[in-house]
Structures are given as C-alpha cells and as structure tokens.
C-alpha cells in the first residue's frame, strides 16, 4: 500500500482509525511527508496521532454511590494507598496495558494511548464489573457469594478487552456476536493472567474469575474455558450453565440472548487450539485471535465467521499446512462450529 500518495486528511484518518500495518503505514507516510515538505502543520499532526506509548491510569472511588466517575483517588505514578480495590484496579490495568503493548504492540484500548479509567466501590454490595463504553466499573461484591471484583486479574483484563473490542470488531452485544464479544474478553483476560504469571497453556488453570467467589460457595470460578459448565455448582448460586458444544447452544431471551452462556463454545475452541499448539498461549493462538478481532470481524459476525477467520489467519501467519492451522481447525470442529 502506497500511503504517501494519499492526502494528509485521509492518512490522518487511517492513522487514527485503522489497525495494524495499515495504521503504521499511514503514520510513517505522514511523518515522511512532513519531513519532505517541511510542513510544521503536518509535523504537529503526526505528534497528535502517533501515540506516546505510555500508560496512563486513573482510579476513582464512587464511595458506594452510582455517580461516575467519582472522586479521583490515584493517578499514574502516584504511590500505593491502603485501599486494596484501588491498588488492584491500578495494578490490573497496568498489567493489561503491558500485555497488549508488549505482546501485540497495541497502545492501550484504542491503540492510541487512551487513558485507562477505573471506578471502584461502585454502588452498595454491587455484584458486578463492567465496561460502560468509556471506563471500567467495579463493585465490592455482596460478601456472601461474591468478593470484590478487582480480586481477579482476568476480570480486569476481561473488562479492558471489552474496550479493545469496541475499538476493533465492535461486535454487537447480543446473540452470537455478543457471545463472541464475551469470549474475546475471556480469552484475552485469561491471557493477561497467563502472561503475567509466565504460564504455559498446559500449566494454566483456564479459569475466569477465580478468587471472586467466597469460601461459602461451592465453586472455583465463574467460568472454565477448559471445561465449560463446571466452574460452580452451588445451592445458592446455581450451576454453571455454559455449553462447550454447538449442539447445546442455548437460545434464550435473557442476558442479551445468553452472551455469558454461549461464550463457552468459542472459549472452549480457544482452549483446545492453544493447548494443542502448546507453549505460551499468547504467542501463537493469542496472536491469531488478536488478528481476527482487530482486522477480520465485523459487528454482526457469527461463530462460523470467527472460526473461518481464525483458520484463515492461522494459515496466513504460520503456513497453510502448519500445526497451528491444523490445531485451530480441529478445535472448531470439536466444538461443532465447523464440520
């Protein structure tokens, strides 16, 4: 692609909005044209669109209210305080930023160094963590079933990845595209944890939200990518409803069409591919899934679209007769998405 023939306003658009190579080309072309023509205006433009490559984090305290973002309690570089939720939100956002930056050369959620804002102590005994389109929100948990939601690093990685998805494939948050949106958050959430612990696919627990449930609950986590449907089975909490195969896909009206339920199917496909490939899951399987999320999928993509895209990308990155491509294809066949 010969970006340098394009006018600056198109380059700027590409440099801001495009992903990966295309974006880098556009940024390089902008810089080049600035140097060639010695235009200060273009050079200034480059300074605006080329990310600084630094992480910027802020943590707010909602003080059990529901007004966002709340009171600023910690900015980038500020020392640790006494509040565990604040420290966890800050450290978890940092680890997630580092993961995306070092592994996939992505500068923050939007790829342009967006500040990572988190609000803790949201609501009273609030049993949730969420991404509201602009920031992360964490509740303290009710204390009986759930502990504070900053307790698990993969939960923080999960929420931040919702932001990445918003700036990438922007998958609709309902039905199959919604379950894919959920699954990408679980995949990269669990990879942040594995990367931080320097764990191989074989050694990892593949659990989402381990440490979130209190000791009273009979369960080890909220979801299991290794064996969906087995994370918990408790009189109060009920039983983990996730399927691991297309034949058990649940058509439901609630939960936006079961986005947190049917994500078990693509979750398990990722687990199968990563463990069959072996080694560190973020290096090969994660790379394939990242390419697909940021370059291949559109907002209404279905499981099958995602499966086909991962097989194609695996072939492109590692060869059409490579072990990674075979592993990815086999994984989607095992969960019944590809025939």
């Amino acid at each position: 692609m010969r970006c340098s023939f394009l006018p600056p306003y198109i380059l700027r658009h590409l440099a801001e909005r495009a992903e990966g190579d295309l974006r880098e080309h556009a940024q390089a072309a902008l810089e080049e044209s600035a140097q060639l023509r010695g235009e200060r205006a273009v050079a200034a433009l480059v300074a605006l669109v080329v990310p600084a490559g630094e992480k910027r984090r802020t943590v707010y305290d909602a003080r059990h209210g529901r007004t966002l973002p709340g009171k600023l309690v910690r900015g980038e570089g500020d020392p640790r305080g006494r509040d565990a939720a604040v420290n966890e939100a800050y450290d978890g956002a940092g680890k997630t930023y580092d993961f995306y930056q070092k592994v996939y050369a992505r500068n923050s959620i939007d790829g342009r160094g967006m500040r990572l804002d988190s609000t803790v102590h949201y609501g009273v005994k609030f049993d949730n963590a969420q991404w509201n389109g602009r920031q992360m929100i964490y509740g303290d948990g009710d204390g009986e079933l759930f502990r504070r939601f900053t307790k698990s690093l993969d939960v923080i990685g999960h929420e931040l990845t919702h932001g990445v998805t918003q700036y990438a494939a922007n998958l609709d948050y309902a039905d199959q595209p919604g379950a894919l949106n959920e699954s990408f958050s679980d995949v990269f959430g669990v990879l942040v944890k594995q990367y931080t612990r320097k764990q191989t696919a074989a050694k990892a627990d593949w659990l989402i939200g381990a440490g979130l449930l209190t000791r009273r609950v009979q369960g080890q986590a909220i979801r299991s990518m290794k064996t969906p449907g087995t994370a918990y089975d408790d009189p109060l909490l009920g039983r983990d409803p996730q399927p691991a195969h297309m034949r058990d896909y649940k058509r439901m009206r609630t939960d936006n069409g079961g986005v947190h339920v049917n994500s078990g199917i693509p979750n398990h496909a990722f687990y199968l591919a990563a463990t069959r490939i072996g080694g560190k899951a973020w290096e090969v399987a994660g790379r394939i899934w990242y390419e697909v999320l940021t370059r291949e999928l559109h907002a209404t993509a279905l499981f099958r679209d995602c499966a086909e895209a991962t097989v194609e990308v695996a072939g492109r990155l590692f060869g059409s007769a490579s072990a990674p491509r075979d592993a990815v294809l086999e994984a989607w066949k095992t969960v019944g998405v590809l025939g």
Binding site: N128, W131, G133, H162, Y173, G238, N256, G258
Partner: protein
C-alpha cells in the same frame, strides 16, 4: 401493587428474581412511590458489556431497563434490599 423483577446478565451471567406484593410487605407504600416515580421515566435496556438487564413487571406492564436512570435505579436497589422476598 404487584411487582416482579428479574435481573440477568452481568459479568457472572447470573439470574436473580424477586416478587413483591406491596400490600403485604413492610415499607410497601414507599416501594409503590418509587415504582410510580420510575414508570414515569423512560425505560431503556443497556447494551454495554457486562451491564445488568432488568425486567420489571408492575401490575402486568413489563419494563426492560439497564437501571441507569436514577428513578429506576432507586426502585431496583429497594426491591433487592427488601428482606424476605423470593
């Protein structure tokens, strides 16, 4: 006034339900006031990731909301805080 609330979605994807007959619970009058205030407000479902989705049936009329509106939020918090409800 009879109110049924169902919460789905959220990070854990857990379903939670409550039913209340305001004539039969303590503080029922206050719940009625919160419900009257909420139903005058527009109810819109949240489509943001991991947000809760609430389905609230008030005397046979169904409202679906993300609970972001303060009036709906107050009713939701009150309903889940009412002891003895199933």
């Amino acid at each position: 006034m009879k109110i049924r609330i169902t919460r789905t979605g959220g990070f854990a994807g857990r379903t939670l339900g409550r039913e209340v007959d305001t004539a039969k619970v303590r503080g029922g009058r206050q719940i009625e006031k919160l419900a009257e205030r909420a139903r005058r407000r527009p109810a819109s479902p949240a489509r943001t990731p991991d947000a809760f989705a609430y389905e609230i049936v008030i005397d046979g009329t169904t409202y679906v909301t993300g609970g972001d509106d303060p009036a709906w939020g107050a009713l939701i918090e009150r309903l889940f805080a009412t002891p003895g409800l199933q």
